[in-house]
Amino acid sequence: MSSSSAHSVSILELYPEHLESSGERGNVTALRARLERAGHQVDVVQHTIGRRLPKDPDIVVIGNGPVSAVRAVYADLMENAQALRSLADDGVPFFAVGAGAELLGGGITLADGTVLAGVGIFPFSARRGVPRQVGYIVVESAQGTVVGFEDNASEWNLDSGAVPLGVVTSGGGNGNGREGVIAGSSIATQTKGPILPLNPSLSDAVIRAALERRDVAYAPSAAHAELDRLAAKSREVIVANVKSVFTTI
């Protein structure tokens, strides 16, 4: 059965109290706004420590946080690691930023040398304690130009054959000329801003991947025009001011 309206889309938001320190709630806000403007009902379910992981989400979202938050959620995440891997294997798109993405990767080497094993959904590992990158970032990707703000001291090393989200044209990204990593329809990135409101094409890619699994059509319409116009204008200014120097004392 195919239907373009009134389909309830479930977004699973992982550890919002711990891992949304760089405004990643905005990524959920962007997905919700675009889905609702396309006529879909949206159901956001938050997973917090100690709760049961909800069944059958259409999209899984996770964000950034300090190392103390990474440690705080770690045991709960590991308990749910198998369930999350199954979702990814089933083609549920994950959209992951910063520390949350690193937890879903191969592992994190912290600045003191400690290694935290990851869930293994994304094919990369992170190394903390490298020189910090702060400022606007511009990336050329399969979804077009992606812009945002980066603020991290983390180098992402992709597994052999893994595909980055894109090529950095301004900024630091993974630390080696690339930014992020993709795994099937899932995306991991270090870009904040938050990234999805600023980059509607990326939001639409996540939404399409989620709805295609359920054989539901999705297309942005006139109801999305203002979101898209303001995002385009924001992106123009970011590209123009990309060399802004920020205080990092």
Binding site: S21, F149, L198, N241
Partner: protein, 426 residues
């Protein structure tokens, strides 16, 4: 005598920089270079020592409140102009007050200090008292992680030679008592301020203090020497010890009420038996707001209320303090606020529209508001033109327009409407 040359040179530089418009940290820098012992010798003259005011938000306001309360007790107070909280700014401020021989006639120094420089400055200034206001998510692009900021404050507090005054309701700062007693320290003593639990529970977004992911919350209740009991558009009621005081707030809001409680707790500790709550309350009556913190400025035949924000906490708490959706609103935000990711953490329910959005980040702010369906009249990135658009609007029935501004746009906007002189900052 050895300070005469550096002081005169510093003053000359100060005169030149001010003549060119605006204050500067440069003269302080020059004096520091010429006479590294200058500050240490000047501040050793304070009979009541030096108070550092630390915190993510509220430093300028609380410094101002504490200064006025102590002046109300007859003390001569040396303080730094609001925002001048980096080492060079503090030296510049000292320079404007001392005689050419380095003599300073003041009983106490009250200084707002940037968190990142507090520990370093404490080595020169040897603060007797440290007041810690709050740890809120602020300038992550600069501090990386909020707990780093918490540790900057907690580490500085430990070097106070007499008193620490801390926030009972802050997940990090409420730990200072435990931290110091674990060390077995006898000095400094620790005193708390706070807000009545019901006030916090009733606040739409609580206190917006940062979450502490590394430590469990204390289970033992902590007594507060000064507790905010209530606040409204006219002022705040604060219990200090067993006594109640009604004070006029220079700006309205729960956070300003808590700042007042912090100032009262600190004054009580610094003054000891000389503290007089009636004198303290009276001092609040004549206080003017700090720059951009609830200030009403003339704008033609109308007034403009400035609501300044630096980060998520200050924007949310200031929005929450608005009595109703403002009739005419301008929002101004530029690259002075580098990372605006946190705009998506803000609840904008207090705004039913924005008339004019301006500054380099106007489009990003508009994009945020569009996600909430809040209509925006005009987006005009140029501040001067935006101000003219606001001027062209009919007179608001409330008599004032509301300008929600980041620090940099506030300073520019003040200048454009004829209030040029001058907070000093970097």
């Amino acid at each position: 005598m050895r300070y005469i040359a550096p002081v005169l040179v510093g003053r000359a530089v100060r005169a030149v920089t001010r003549a060119r418009g605006g204050g500067s940290a440069l003269p302080g820098y020059i004096v520091n270079k010429m006479a590294p012992g200058f500050i240490k010798n000047v501040v050793a003259q304070f009979e009541y020592g030096i108070v550092f005011v630390l915190g993510s938000n509220g430093k300028s306001t609380t410094t101002h409140m504490l200064t006025e309360v102590l002046r109300g007790h007859g003390l001569t107070v040396f303080t730094n102009p609001s925002g001048a909280n980096l080492p060079q700014g503090i030296s510049s401020a000292l320079l404007s007050e001392v005689g050419v021989t380095g003599k300073l006639k003041a009983d106490i120094g009250i200084l707002e200090v940037d968190e990142a420089f507090a520990l370093e400055l404490s080595k020169t200034l040897l603060p007797s008292t440290i007041l810690m206001l709050n740890v809120q998510v602020d300038q992550l692009y600069r501090f990386f992680e909020t707990e780093v900021v918490a540790d900057m404050m907690l580490d500085t507090a430990a070097v106070a030679t007499q008193h620490v005054i801390s926030n009972r309701d802050d997940a990090y700062l409420s730990k200072i008592g435990e931290i110091l007693s674990k060390k077995g320290s006898v000095v400094p003593d620790v005193t708390y301020f706070g807000a009545a639990p019901k006030l916090v529970a009733d606040s739409a977004h609580g206190l917006f203090n940062a979450a502490n992911h590394r430590e469990e919350a204390s289970t033992a209740p902590i007594d507060a020497l000064a507790e905010l009991e209530s606040w409204d558009s006219t002022g705040a009621r604060i219990r200090v010890g067993g006594e109640l005081a009604d004070v006029v707030l220079p700006a309205k809001g729960l956070h300003y009420g808590i700042d007042a409680a912090a100032a009262l707790a600190t004054a009580a500790q610094v003054l000891g038996t000389e503290f007089d709550l009636a004198k303290a309350s009276a001092a609040f009556s004549s206080m003017t707001p700090a720059y951009g913190r609830g200030e009403l400025l003339d704008f033609g035949n109308e007034k403009v209320e400035f609501v300044m924000f630096k980060n998520a906490a200050s924007l949310q708490l200031n929005l929450d303090a608005l009595p109703a959706a403002p009739e005419q609103v301008m929002v101004a935000i530029d690259e002075g606020t580098p990372d605006v990711s946190w705009l998506y953490d803000i609840d904008f329910a207090q705004l039913d529209h924005v008339d004019v959005l301006t500054g380099a980040k106007a489009w990003q702010f508009a994009l945020r508001l569009e996600h909430e369906g809040i209509p925006v009249g005009t987006i005009e990135p140029d501040l001067k033109k935006a101000i003219e658009l606001m001027r062209a609007l009919p007179a608001p029935t409330t008599g004032h327009k509301t300008w929600v501004v980041n620090y940099e746009q506030m300073m520019l906007a003040r200048k454009i409407i004829g209030y040029g002189d001058m907070e000093v900052s970097f």
